[in-house]
């Protein structure tokens, strides 16, 4: 639907965000909410430039960025088409390892270790997180980038207590899936994970790693993972690329149970 597509792409002239970034974000948004499907043709740059009353260069720049991020491709005919397929919510409301979730999406998963070290947390930090303060204050910190088909998807930092994962700092290489590793070496498994979700602006460092512009919006999830003994075994914080999304389904019955007043005026 190339003609529809032309009407969809608009820009906000009062915004401080450059036009090419706006076009890029706008198209990306439509691809992600499936307004533009896999193989949908985008308007030709001169066509869009004319409709928006901006230079063609800006449009080409936006398209180039989308190509770099693998959202679109330029075919031999010169036509730009959507090349992206959907990221599902596998990461989110199931306790699936991120690594496995990426392969479920049909992408080849890989992990790049950005940083790993043993750190000392203060008593306040330990108590604020909820780790056992009577134990050693040494923690294994890892900061890793999860990729699908070599494109960044999620940056995940973990704090693992050394009193549970003894000597993990000496054997853990950094690019192996964490869940499988702790199952194999420590026979431990996540039983419950408590997550706190926020929308945040990415700082420069994280933006660079995730291949996003600084200040791009990202879903931040702070996770506390408990084992079968209700012990906090892992404290982590993830930031995802701006194109990431997840879905929820809330049934009416659950809504009625939680808030009967919405549906029952006779009471």
């Amino acid at each position: 639907m190339p003609s529809n597509c032309l009407e969809l792409i608009t820009i906000d002239r009062r915004s401080r965000v450059p036009f090419d970034s706006q076009i890029k974000e706008r198209i990306k948004g439509f691809i992600l909410d499936q307004t533009l499907y896999y193989k949908t043709a985008l308007p030709m740059p001169n066509e869009l430039a004319k409709a928006l009353n901006i230079t063609e260069k800006k449009v080409v720049k936006a398209y180039q960025q989308l190509i770099e991020e693998r959202f679109i491709k330029q075919e031999l005919s010169g036509i730009y088409k959507v090349s992206y397929f959907e990221l599902t919510n596998y990461f989110f409301d199931r306790n699936t390892a991120v690594y496995d979730a990426i392969s479920t999406l049909g992408l080849t998963p890989s992990i790049r270790c950005v940083e790993k070290k043993v750190i000392t947390l203060t008593k306040q930090e330990i108590e604020a997180i909820g780790f056992d303060a009577s134990q050693s204050n040494k923690y294994f910190y890892i900061n890793r980038l999860y990729l699908g088909d070599k494109q960044p998807i999620m940056l995940l930092e973990n704090y693992l207590p050394l009193y549970i994962f003894k000597n993990i700092d000496q054997s853990f290489v950094g690019d192996e899936p964490l869940d499988a590793y702790i199952k194999a070496h420590y026979n431990l498994k996540a039983q419950i994970s408590k997550r706190q979700i926020k929308a945040v602006n990415l700082d420069r460092t994280m933006a660079k790693l995730l291949n996003e512009r600084p200040n791009a919006a990202s879903i931040q999830s702070t996770n506390k993972v408990y084992d079968h003994l209700s012990r906090l075994i892992d404290y982590g914080r993830s930031h995802t690329i701006s194109s990431y999304y997840f879905q929820t389904l809330v049934k009416k019955d659950d809504m009625v149970n939680a808030y009967p007043q919405f549906f029952n005026q006779s009471n």
């Binding site: 419950i192 994970s193 929308a199 602006n201 919006a217 009416k252």
Partner: protein, 248 residues
């Protein structure tokens, strides 16, 4: 302009504490709102003939308590703002504004419209863009602070009497179920993070480009029709969703 600051020099309570307390009270009362500009230190010390140190100390106390903040070259601003904390699956609880016993939230309807140019909404509602669709834009607030900006779309084909009924709109679910006689089956929502546009920032009292939770919700009725579609915008800095995930 600074009548909310009260100083009684006859009291033994130190001046700086009195200034801090009166500003705190003004914030709690809602006289001072998020993003309101406070007088400069100089203005206060001249108005009350007191030392600048006292004002400085008062402001520092409030900055430490995260009630106000200094922006270099601009001034001092009220920053305290409630963070909405809710369960991810229950975010619709913000509709509690109709709860007369404990009215947690209030709403401001920004606009009623009988047409929309939002093609994304047409697509999600699975209707042709020539079909008329009503739109409500509202801000749900806690006190004075915006908690949620909503754009709600009602297709004419499901809400034929909207123009007669919309004036009774206040609670979304009550409106759909009681006023318009639809039976809701479920809400299907897609969560992502976006940067605020100029107009979203304005309505949510944020800066453009600040992060927002962007939640698109389809309301599906018992017959399986998508009868309404909503864009929800939550201010990122002031919203936290919780969720508990169990092992499979």
């Amino acid at each position: 302009m600074m009548e909310y600051i009260q100083i009684n020099k006859l009291l033994t309570t130190s001046i700086y504490k009195q200034i801090a307390a009166s500003i705190t009270q003004a914030i709690d009362r809602g006289d001072l709102k998020y993003n309101d500009k406070l007088p400069t230190e100089k203005e206060i010390c001249q108005a009350f003939s007191i030392s600048q140190t006292a004002v400085k100390m008062a402001y520092e106390k409030l900055i430490n308590e995260e009630k106000i903040k200094r922006i270099k070259g601009k001034g001092t601003y009220v920053t305290n703002r409630d963070v909405y904390q809710g369960n991810l699956h229950n975010f619709y609880e913000l509709e509690l504004l109709e709860d007369k016993v404990t009215p947690k939230y209030n709403q401001k309807i920004v606009m009623f419209d009988k047409k929309t140019k939002d093609y994304g909404a047409y697509r999600e509602l699975k209707i042709d863009k020539k079909e008329p669709t009503f739109q409500i834009i509202r801000v749900i607030r806690s006190g004075q602070n915006p908690v949620l900006l909503q754009k709600i779309f009602f297709p004419h084909k499901y809400f034929k009497n909207f123009e007669k009924q919309y004036q009774s709109f206040s609670n979304l679910f009550t409106f759909i179920e009681q006023t318009c006689n639809y039976k809701i089956a479920h809400l299907h929502s897609t969560f992502s993070a976006i940067n605020a546009s100029a107009s979203e920032a304005l309505l949510l009292r944020l800066e453009p480009d600040d992060a927002l939770h962007y939640v698109r919700t389809k309301i599906v009725d018992k017959k399986g029709n998508i009868i309404a579609y909503i864009y929800n915008y939550f201010p990122g800095d002031f919203t936290e969703f919780e969720v508990i995930v169990h092992a499979i």
